[in-house]
């Protein structure tokens, strides 16, 4: 058929464009990994090949930072925060979308507006509140304000618009109560959405920077993002160590992504029906 050469060109261009996009996306990571193997002086000079300083850098990093502690802090906040946020926010998204009412629509509109207030403006009153609750320098202070995430509620609401009404109707005919529909019908069907949300929430919690900076006071409670920032701000930073810290700061989110991205594929195979 005459469509073939054009189709071939189109496919080649597509692969080319994708490869370029992939290269641009991955290059900084390559840079970071190369950096972990070079000395600070070499990194500053812009050396782009692998070096032999990996062991030194890692050793220095472990000597300067209580890595296990810091990692645990970040992990605890990220995991607990993600689980709770998924639960509370998806419930709310479902409620707003499936069980509509005029009042709740107005509340939702107000919530969206609240999303627009920049965090810098909320930091101080939030800090005062945490102080009153005695939660300064605790993980709870970081997890609690993030559980009801307007952003995630909004996301679940929009995604729920694609949830077929017939499924719910059929379930109701079968005599299922609302919470049962949520658990046994909605949850399995919306798996790709939950997977995407998990990645997003975990990332936000793991990379959280400004609020933990304000609320955490002691070395024992620090998260990995604070450590990386502190390492880069010395008068004479050791960039080899910075790169090692950066890799550690990035690895878990990559792993979570790899673990969950197969859910998308599962959706492809007709999970909806």
């Amino acid at each position: 058929m005459t469509a073939n050469p054009l189709a071939l060109l189109g496919r080649t261009l597509t692969y080319l464009a994708l490869s370029l996009a992939a290269f641009i996306s991955i290059f900084p990571f390559y840079w970071m990994i190369v950096g972990t193997t070079n000395t600070s002086a070499d990194i500053i000079k812009g050396k782009s090949g692998f070096g032999s300083a990996l062991f030194t850098n890692v050793a220095n990093f472990f000597a300067q930072v209580d890595v296990a502690r810091v990692f645990w802090n970040s992990a605890y906040i990220a995991v607990v925060g993600t689980v709770l946020t998924l639960a509370v926010s998806s419930l709310a998204g479902y409620g707003f979308e499936i069980l509509r009412s005029k009042t709740r629509e107005r509340i939702f509109a107000a919530l969206l507006l609240m999303l627009s207030v920049p965090f810098a403006a909320l930091m101080i009153p939030l800090f005062m509140m945490m102080a009153k609750l005695g939660l300064i320098n605790t993980h709870a202070a970081i997890i609690l304000p993030a559980i009801a995430s307007i952003f995630i509620i909004f996301y679940f609401r929009q995604a729920t618009k694609a949830f077929p009404a017939e499924l719910r109707d059929a379930a109701k005919i079968d005599g299922l109560k609302e919470w049962q529909i949520f658990l046994y019908v909605y949850l399995p069907v919306m798996r790709p959405t939950y997977a995407a949300a998990t990645i997003i929430i975990f990332m936000a919690n793991w990379n959280n920077y400004l609020w933990p900076l304000i609320v955490l006071q002691t070395n024992e409670q620090k998260t990995i993002t604070l450590v990386v920032s502190s390492l880069t701000s010395a008068y004479y930073p050791d960039y080899g160590v910075v790169m090692v810290a950066a890799v550690l700061a990035t690895l878990p989110t990559i792993i979570i992504f790899f673990a969950l991205q197969r859910r998308f594929v599962a959706g492809l195979l007709g999970a909806v029906k």
Binding site: K45, M128, I136, L213, Q217, S230, S233, A234, Y235, Y236
Partner: protein, 424 residues
Amino acid sequence: MSTAMQGLRLTFGAALTTTGLLFGTTAMAVDVTVWCWDPNFNGATMKEAAERYKASHPDFNLIVVDFAKADLETKLQAQLASGTTDGLPDIVLVEDYGAQKYLQSFPGAFQPLSDKVDYSAFAPYKVELATLEGQTYSMPFDSGVTGLFYRTDYLAEAGYDEAALQDITWDQLIEIGKAVEAKTGHKLLSLDLNDAGAIRILMQSAGSWYFTPDGEVNIAGNPVFKAALEAYAKVLQSDIYKPVSGWTEYTGAFTSGEVAATFTGVWMTGTIKANPDQSGKWGVAPIPKLDGVEGATHASNLGGSSWYVLSSAPQKDVAVDFLAEVWGKDVDFYQKILVNQGALGSLTAARDGEAFKASDDFFSGQPVWQNFTTWLGEIPGVNYGLFTNEADAAVAAQLPALKDGGSVDDAIAAIDAQVRQQVQ
């Protein structure tokens, strides 16, 4: 005896000793917390001081928590603003430019130290900047006394030796820069166009600042400010520097030998000395002085910080005593931190110590520390006021225009207008 038995004995012995220690000292341990940036510089000096204090106070325990400098300032300001003192440390490091801002924005947050510390022992300009209504609140730490660090080999190739750099103006520096590039191919300086630090150095070298001692805006109609801007504009328009952006590029330029010099605070010594293969190739000269301005000197300051005690500190009295005893008096301590960290303290008596008197092989055998402390005593004292950051931002906004040959008078007018608007 089998290794297992030996191991068991060792463990048992260790356990006994530990328990002994636990019972002996933990019950009395006093924990003093310090917040600072750069654990290898500031943190290390604090740890050294703690060791000394511990010798006479065995129950003293210092905990250093480090943050990035900007982070620490954000954190401190956020917490002080919230009015909660929960979790604040006992001692905190504050950069000198921000001293008055904190003291005046958050009255009562800091502990006055006037009756515990003998301030006559310190460089006057460091004491003045932390004094409010007759009370002084700081323990002066490192000075940012400025010098012109230069590569002796490049300058020699261009025909300049130590003597030739002693009493120069900024115009003469530009000439030197051109000669160095002609003869060696290296630019003289690396400059970050966004950094108003150079203007601060120039202003203070002639005893002036963005604001009068009473806190009035002192930009339009300030002859020193105009001279500073004009001198720096000439530098920016000349070709003697490599434009850089950000700290890494700036320091990378002279530590790698790409550019020949930099004029900055003494605390840059640590960074410069981190390249031992350049030993003997560096020297330090006084910074150039402003031309045609009354009161111009070769001495100025960039940065520098001091320790402050929070009045909410759980271990307030111990903290104050610690600072007063080690930081306030211990001359030997200042020798140690000079040699180990390159930290130039502000205790005037320290300059008579050995380390301060020594000449430094890295800097071609020059008695650099003596020089620095001489200049330290000559720094004109200024009141940094409350709005240094706002003024810096206003100056930085005009630097690109100046670089492109814009009118200095226009720039002054714009800076003046912006600063007046911001200081409400």
